[in-house]
């Protein structure tokens, strides 16, 4: 416990002086040197610490199952993935579904649709709610992942994870949000209830799009580290922290509509602090994952 608080103190210190996560980065590098990557340890690491940017795409690809645990196979598997990517991209060009003018995230959406056997007959189809989610996530992912092949694969697998692994959990998050907000600040929840805002909160933006388009990508990726590595519950605490951070503003608003509108467009400058506090709050309520030796 004392060791932990000491570590926390140091992390905070590094954060302040710009050396954040020096030791974390080293310990991740050790994990990544294994011939066969230990998925469980990588998960624990990502649950506990923010991933260093330079390793984020690699770790996400491994955790999402895009890359197998064996280093030796990575080149071969990426070769298959790249070919698959260009095959599908080319196919959409052949049938004139896309052109040079098609925005990249729409290209990703059509590729995903084609691969899922759900390509509509024409590009001017009405978007389904799940397409909107895909586009929002792809748009944020574009800012986080430089390589377009990686970006497509990660977006797809991230969305697939939401629809499979988290399918039963995500609908329960609004209830959990209420519960934790009540624990942290009962008055704030009462205010939301009094305004009738509880049912109109931007749950779709929070728990389906995972805050894509709500928080800047530089902060968002630290939350997605947790989502990718197995916890969607972090999303609840981000929502709670947003409410706590803008408490004064929210308490001053007295209609559900105004509250929802404000929460959908929160100021971006405090997002880094929101994420840090949300992670702390998550650890406080759900425990800090133990880094197994």
């Amino acid at each position: 416990m004392t060791e932990d608080s000491q570590r926390n103190f140091r992390s905070v210190y590094y954060e302040k002086v710009g050396f954040r996560g020096v030791e974390e980065k080293k310990s991740l590098e050790i994990l990544l040197k294994d011939d066969r990557l230990d998925i469980e340890k990588l998960c624990t690491f990502s649950q506990r610490f923010p991933l260093p940017s330079m390793y984020r795409a690699l770790v996400w690809k491994v955790l999402l199952g895009i890359l197998p645990p064996h280093h030796e196979s990575h080149a071969q598997v990426m070769k298959y993935h790249k070919e698959q990517y260009s095959d599908v991209l080319h196919a959409l060009e052949v049938i004139r579904f896309i052109s040079d003018a098609t925005p990249q995230i729409e290209v990703y959406l059509y590729m995903h649709r084609l691969e899922s056997g759900k390509l509509p007959r024409s590009p001017s189809f009405p978007l389904e709610p799940e397409d909107e989610v895909f586009l929002a996530i792809a748009k944020a992912m574009e800012e986080m992942v430089e390589d377009s092949v990686d970006c497509y694969w990660i977006t797809r697998c991230f969305v697939n994870q939401l629809n499979s692994k988290y399918r039963d959990t995500l609908p329960q998050l609004p209830k959990a949000f209420e519960q934790y907000l009540n624990l942290e600040d009962g008055r704030l929840l009462s205010h939301l209830k009094a305004c009738g805002a509880v049912s109109t909160l931007p749950y779709e933006l929070w728990f389906k799009k995972c805050f894509a388009g709500c928080l800047p990508e530089s902060s968002l990726q630290r939350i997605w580290d947790k989502v990718v590595s197995g916890s969607c519950k972090i999303l609840v605490f981000v929502a709670v922290e947003i409410l706590l951070t803008f408490k004064i503003k929210v308490m001053a608003l007295n209609s559900a509509e105004k509250i929802t509108k404000f929460l959908e467009n929160i100021p971006q400058d405090s997002s880094d602090a929101i994420v840090s506090k949300a992670v702390d709050l998550w650890h406080k309520h759900c425990g800090t994952p133990v880094h197994s030796a």
Binding site: V77, Q84, D87, L119
Partner: protein, 59 residues
């Protein structure tokens, strides 16, 4: 160690299979597109015939 080799092989095989599966999906999409284009061509052909017949009918 044996399990390890098997696991590694499975990782590669999955990627290869997925590349094959998406190629299959592409074939299906192309098939539909071909049918669609033939449909359009026939409609076009029919329209042209109708247009060609109009002047004759007017004579």
């Amino acid at each position: 160690y044996l399990e390890d080799v098997k696991l590694q092989a499975r990782g590669q095989l999955q990627a290869a299979e997925s590349r094959y599966e998406s190629q299959k999906k592409i074939t299906q999409v192309f098939e539909l597109e071909i049918l669609d284009l033939y449909g359009k061509l026939e409609k076009d052909g029919l329209l042209r015939k109708l247009e060609e017949q109009k002047p004759e009918a007017a004579e």
